[in-house]
Symmetry: C2
Subunit: 224 residues, 2 copies
DNA sequence: CCAAAAGTGTTATGTTTACACCCATGT
DNA sequence: ACATGGGTGTAAACATAACACTTTTGG
């Protein structure tokens, strides 16, 4: 038995990784500068062509390692871009992923075989990107916002704890609404979503703020 | 420019449609019986190979039309099956979809060019299916349950209204927990998630039950 | 001692839970 | 008249929303 219809063949796939971090309450994404054609010299999301004998997740992790040398992080598949004209060479799907990391605890290479630079960009200040990556990034940002609000994805980013004003700012900026400081604190504490540590750290004010950690025992639920 | 690495090519994709309905509070899925090799004579989900020049959603709707003659329904993409050995001919992704329809308002063909039968099956009584469709169906059932609880996907299935005991049964069976009848009713009514009509209909009891409809004005939210 | 952000408490309102009795119908 | 499921009310516990003052630090 064989495939005779050429319409059934001639497809390929990219994996695209949107790697985010949060710095002082602001969301940033990791971009790399390409040193190969096409789009040589353009900023782009971490991405590349998938092999036909590997799993999507494997490819997403492999490309991340090749383009940034980051490994051992969790990636979440968030959707497919199936525009038929993404690539002039072949029908290419894009399998899109989200990663969220603590920028202080992660090292990445500024240059690799395929990249000539890499850096964090505030999501409100994104340059023109290669391919359809601006569109993909917009999609991923929306997904990230939903995930922050309805699952404890933030756990991935604060292995060493956080202050309440810090995540308060994250929630307000991702949800685009004001949340009363006092009620925010009360909700997270009375529902035991976060747990007190005995440390303090200075966030934005002069007065040091208490450090908290997420309660790993609790299931994900929508917060606001 | 051309693709030289053969690992980047030789991929294809199936679309797989899991079409559900709810009959007297029980969830059922639409299966077709294949009349072509491979798996001739086996029950299977509605599915088929995607063309390399169409969108995923287009392919999902086209296959549904070809295999059942159903059209004009809403399909929701819920995920990708990327096992490398799904097909012996080619690396084939499966783009999985969910549809939810009112079985009383939908007509489908028992036989088409590629099918020799079609019927609703209770999800607790599923035969062995072609390909990896049992696994895909299990995945889709879990997604459906989540969607029933956290979005108003049920709207798609009750264009003519429903009774509270009827959807109460759906929620209890999809969530796998008991929900107090009185509190269930109160919640849906006070939050105006459902609206009274002036009709009544007999569900399971002897006493006719009031008919309600979903409130289209309200945004989706997690109910329980 | 002042500015800037962190921390705390109370009251009113809405939501959820637990629970028991009556009602309309078919047999 | 009775069995079966449908419909209703109330009180306690809990969660949310609105709101103002005190505390700790750096400059």
């Amino acid at each position: 038995m064989e495939l005779t219809n050429p319409l059934y063949k001639n497809m390929g796939a990219h994996v695209v990784d949107t790697i985010f971090t949060i710095d002082k309450g602001r969301i940033k994404v990791l971009l790399i500068k390409r040193n190969n054609e096409p789009y040589r010299g353009s900023w782009a999301l971490v991405s590349g062509a998938m092999y036909n004998n590997e799993l999507i997740e494997t490819a997403a992790l492999r490309e991340l390692k090749e383009k940034t040398n980051i490994s051992d992080i969790e990636l979440t598949f968030i959707g497919v871009d199936d525009d038929t004209d993404r690539s002039p060479l072949l029908r290419m799907f894009a399998f899109i992923h989200i990663g969220l990391v603590d920028f202080q605890n992660i090292k990445f290479l500024k240059e690799t075989e395929k990249t000539m630079d890499a850096d964090w960009f505030d999501i409100n200040d994104i340059p023109e990107l290669a391919y359809d990556h601006n569109k993909i990034l917009d999609y991923a940002i929306e997904k990230l916002k939903t995930m922050i609000n309805s699952s404890n994805i933030l756990k991935r980013i604060y292995p060493n704890g956080f202050t309440i004003p810090e995540i308060h700012k994250v929630y307000e900026s991702t949800l685009g609404v004001e949340i009363d400081r006092r009620n925010f604190r009360k909700k997270l504490l009375t529902q035991k979503i976060i747990l007190d540590t005995n440390e303090t750290i200075t966030f934005e004010g002069k007065k040091p703020a208490k450090k908290y950690i997420f309660n790993d025992e609790l299931p994900d639920k929508k917060l606001f």
